[in-house]
Amino acid sequence: MTRGLHKYSVYGFIWESDLCLSSCLIPARGGTDVELRRVHKLSEPPTNCLFSSPLIRNGSPLLKTYGTSEEILLRYPGLVDILVTPREIQYVPETNSDMAFIEAQCLGPASALWLELNNTLALHTSAVVVDDAAIMLVEHSGSGKSTLAATFLRHQHALLTDDILPLNVTPHAVWGQPGYPQIRLLADVARQFISGADTLPSTHPKIGKKMIPVGVSGFGTFRDRPVTISSVYVLDRVADDTARIAIQDLTPTEGLHALIRGSSGANTLQALGLQPSRLPRLAQIVETLRVRRLTYPDGLHHLNDVYDAIVNDVDTRHTSNWH
């Protein structure tokens, strides 16, 4: 190993990095698949803008994406530039940048793009292991994926990922690779699951989620090996406190739409022209797995009932497989 570099296993690949990642990543040996390293300046970064985030920070988009199908620049103005190529990820922090923020972006959006450049589907999702397979919790940010995943951890289920899920699609199964042992919850939600949440670092100093270690000496357990995926639950959390918990099949086209929406950096993938090659694999996932819409009322006090409903639904799948 090069002096000062650390090797980790993340997303089914071996990463070598100078970032001392706070996420308790799993140490690894062997050949490096991707390097993640700091540089002082990017040489000739791409300049054609692909996407600007609608989120505004200090008068600028929180994220602007530039690039081609060979290299992509994620620019977080005032915070960090991250360049993703098929072989490496380079980052240039601004002065006094928050390293937790940089880590979150490198392990999240930048990693997802790196996976996609290497022909691996990467969905932004939470996934937990129920019985012998994992279930995916899919929808946009803020839909309750992490909170629901935390509920599963509290009920002794292992976390597969709470950020990016790389998927390998085979003719008869879909395999999910483990992410990294961390779950991210808003501070007020995190306090409901663990003690001392306020002392943990955040993904962003002001608007971020708490980065909670999972596994050894952390919260819950982590699944560090690939596992087949059994079902996809598309979350539909409604504000009505009296809403009934319901789980229903989606049509194939609705299921495919949900997976397209759940793709990390969907707008960037679209702009890069990568969606056409992804669609047949996403369609195969829809044809292989059960894709269900989970409607449930907002509120932490409903989570145990939502958990029961999902576990019963998974049990039904097992029962129906036997008849």
């Binding site: 194939p252 609705e254 495919l256 739409h257 707008n267 679209q270 022209g273 969606q275 669609l279 369609a283």
Partner: protein
């Protein structure tokens, strides 16, 4: 209308999924879903079949009345044209 042949716009991509179909408009990134009959109509359109031929094909494949089918085909064509997903060939 019966003899008219429509062709798919150059900027669209079709993806079949379990007998249904998603159309991706590469020009604007929008996705559209089609049920089984809609998917079959677009599939036949993409082979250059005229509307009359598409209608006859579908009458043989689905349990549907001709008047209902013709109205459904007309509605779908209007929607596809509205979103610039098809155009008249030639």
């Amino acid at each position: 209308m019966p003899q008219i042949v429509f062709k798919l716009s150059a900027d669209i991509l079709l993806q079949e999924v379990a007998n249904e179909m998603v159309i991706l408009n590469l020009a604007d990134g929008q996705y559209y879903g089609l049920n089984e009959i809609g998917a079959r109509i677009v599939q036949l359109m993409s082979r250059g079949e005229d509307i009359s031929s598409i209608t006859q094909n579908l009458l043989g494949e689905f349990d549907v009345e001709q008047s209902v089918l013709e109205r459904d085909i007309q509605d779908l064509i209007e929607k596809l044209q509205q979103h610039a997903l098809i155009e008249i060939a030639g």
